[in-house]
């Protein structure tokens, strides 16, 4: 078995902007400073000739991390048929911000809305930054690492229905569950369980008291 994860050379036009190679990558991957980010994207579109923006997403490195959010972009070049990954760290952990590139790549519009929806990253200059997969008014950002797999109690999408019925969206009852076992620990802990579900019947999940059935 070979290990293909390696470090690729940074394209010269990105090196000029202070781009650093990302380690353990499968394609040319460049880490760029937040203040040079827009210049870098313009260079990728212009000099690099990467006409197709494939994907925008983010990685949450955990609540304790110094730099919590990294936004990841994937580009594709039709002339050389190669990929390029660009990553940019968000400086503020409590209000992560990245400039929007929707004016350069119109397709970025929805990708940025999704990243905002899932991670709460604010794309400055975005024409219409609102939720896309979750409903308008949903209070959480579900792909953050501190959001539990089972979900958190939240009000219904329609305020009138919530008021009339008193119902709300409740967390999924997923005690045990068909998930993996955390490595290490005693044999009792090796029973497959949800990675973020340390709670059982005896010690219920922290949060608002909700009957599970």
């Amino acid at each position: 078995m070979q290990i293909p994860m390696q470090t690729f050379e940074v394209p010269t036009y990105l090196e000029a902007l202070g781009g650093k190679a990302r380690l353990k990558a499968d394609m040319p991957a460049v880490d760029i400073a937040p203040d040079r980010f827009l210049e870098a994207v313009k260079a990728i579109l212009g000099e690099g000739g990467y006409a197709l923006l494939l994907d925008i997403t983010a990685i949450d490195w955990g609540v304790e991390a110094d730099i919590r959010f990294t936004v990841v972009y994937h580009f594709y070049s039709l002339s050389t048929h190669t990929y390029l990954r660009l990553t940019v760290d968000c400086t503020a952990n409590d209000a992560p911000t990245v400039p929007s590139i929707a004016h350069l790549y119109p397709g970025a519009n929805w990708h940025e809305r999704e990243t905002f929806d899932m991670f709460g990253i604010i794309f400055t200059g975005h024409p219409n930054l609102k939720r896309i997969l979750m409903w308008e008014g949903y209070p959480y950002h579900p792909l953050r690492k501190d959001f539990p797999l089972a979900g958190i109690e939240a009000p219904l999408p329609s305020a009138e229905t919530a008021e009339a019925t008193g119902e709300c969206v409740i967390a999924a009852p997923m005690m045990g569950g068909p998930f993996h076992a955390a490595p290490g620990g005693t044999i009792a802990n090796r029973e497959p369980m949800g990675a973020d579900q340390s709670w059982t019947e005896c010690s219920p999940k922290p949060g608002p008291e909700t009957p599970l059935n």
């Binding site: 078995m1 499968d26 494939l54 990929y83 790549y105 119109p106 998930f179 993996h180 949800g194």
Partner: protein, 413 residues
């Protein structure tokens, strides 16, 4: 029976209409199309602003089928996520399985035996035929040609019988494993696939004779919703929708995976990028898929259907687990802790029937992905609706939606 003819004098209709001209007024109307509407092919909702019969604004609302697949992936081992990939583009689950498996194998650095790769190519191409059969069948329905659906569904049914024989399930196949496929092909299965391929070609011709020169179909699709080359690229369209706009990009040829470079096939490219071109591209792609599938069958290599060096990744054969200590431990570790992967970041895209389905995996090592992002082609293909639909008539909207051939399971994840 005797009939009397009565003549009615209507007078000068034009003059009367002109007399009332000042009283006629139009107003903009907001129309909610979906999320439960037969023409939106799933739970897509369009908020349309209409001026008479013309659409002036279109706002797609998605997310009704959001299940949090990416969150779920962070909480389970690599192999456990395979069934969830079935439910992305649920019209071509085999192709999703393969795309996901290759992404994880790239992370692990696994090289698969040729037979396994060939089986996967065969699966992908059969999935493409099945997906396009459905796409064209319902597209015919959207344009008022109901008969086509009967022909395409009959063929798709035969394919599903073949899938059932191969994987044990008709719809949710979950056929791949990290480092191989679940089991080898059953005895004589390839012969039955070949028989299917032989009889599907005349049916494709028959569908073509029902639609391609059909006056009504042409009137409804020709020059409707033209996507220019520039727009298609700017909005990140992939797959048949991108190729119909004249962009020559097919990942099977340009970034070959799973041994696609060994097979001869042509890539159909559209000239105009209208709804008719998107139909033509899909029709030709089915023929090319048949061509690839036949080559795979005639050159099917012998050997194993899983990578033998994939220790700690691919579960050993059942007989060995039950009789040998080493394999038993290996199986136990794979089941409890998941296949062990090195740390790294990997992005892999496969040319799926709907477009480029990508998986971006961030691994910190171990059996669980730290972050798994699914790049869904339908999500990108739908983002162009905001620009594409305004200016068209209300009755064109189902045709435009049908021509884009999207799946909401994949769009919403």
């Amino acid at each position: 029976m005797q009939r009397d003819t009565v003549s009615i004098n209507l007078g000068d209709v034009g003059a009367r209409a002109a007399h009332h001209e000042g009283e006629l007024y139009t107003e903009r109307m907001t129309l909610n199309m979906g999320p439960s509407h037969p023409a939106t092919h799933g739970v897509l909702r369009l908020v349309l602003e209409l001026e008479g019969d013309y659409v002036t604004k279109c706002e797609p609302v998605i997310g009704y089928l959001h299940r949090g697949d990416e969150k779920i992936a962070e909480n389970m081992t690599y192999n456990q996520f395979v069934p969830y990939t079935d439910r992305l583009d649920y019209l071509a689950p085999l192709a999703n399985n393969v795309a996901y498996a290759i992404a994880v194998e790239r992370l692990a650095g696994l090289v698969l035996p040729e037979r396994c790769q060939a089986i996967r190519v065969l699966c992908c191409e059969l999935a493409r035929i099945s997906s396009h059969l459905l796409g064209i069948g319902v597209y015919g329905m959207d344009t008022g040609a109901l008969t086509v659906f009967m022909y395409t569904f009959t063929e798709r049914e035969k394919l599903y019988t073949l899938f059932e024989e191969l994987t044990g399930a008709r719809f949710t196949t979950s056929y791949t494993r990290i480092g191989g496929v679940a089991r080898d092909m059953p005895e004589g299965w390839m012969g039955r696939v070949e028989a299917f391929l032989d009889q599907v070609m005349p049916v494709i011709d028959e569908i073509e004779s029902l639609l391609t020169r059909n006056k009504i179909f042409l009137d409804r699709t020709n020059d409707v919703a033209v996507i220019s080359k520039e727009d298609a690229l700017a909005y990140g369209l992939t797959g048949p929708n991108l190729r119909a706009s004249g962009v020559d990009l097919d990942l099977r040829r340009d970034n070959p995976y799973s041994g696609y470079e060994k097979y001869d096939f042509d890539i159909p490219i559209g000239t105009k990028g209208d709804c008719y071109d998107r139909y033509l591209v899909r029709m030709e792609e089915m023929r090319q898929s048949v061509r690839i599938a036949k080559q795979v069958i005639s050159t099917m290599p012998s050997g194993l259907w899983y990578a033998e060096d994939a220790r700690k990744i691919f579960a050993p054969p059942k007989a060995k687990i039950l009789t040998r200590m080493e394999e038993l431990i290996q199986n136990f570790m794979i089941v409890t802790e998941g296949p062990q992967m090195p740390a790294g970041e990997v992005y892999f895209e496969a040319e799926n029937p709907k477009g480029a389905l990508g998986f971006f995996i961030v691994s910190k090592g171990g059996g669980v992905p730290y972050r798994l992002k699914i790049r869904a082609p339908s999500f990108c293909n739908l983002s162009i609706l905001e620009k594409l639909v305004p200016g068209h008539m209300m009755s064109d909207v189902p045709v435009i939606l049908g021509s884009l051939d999207f799946v909401l399971g994949e769009c919403d994840r």
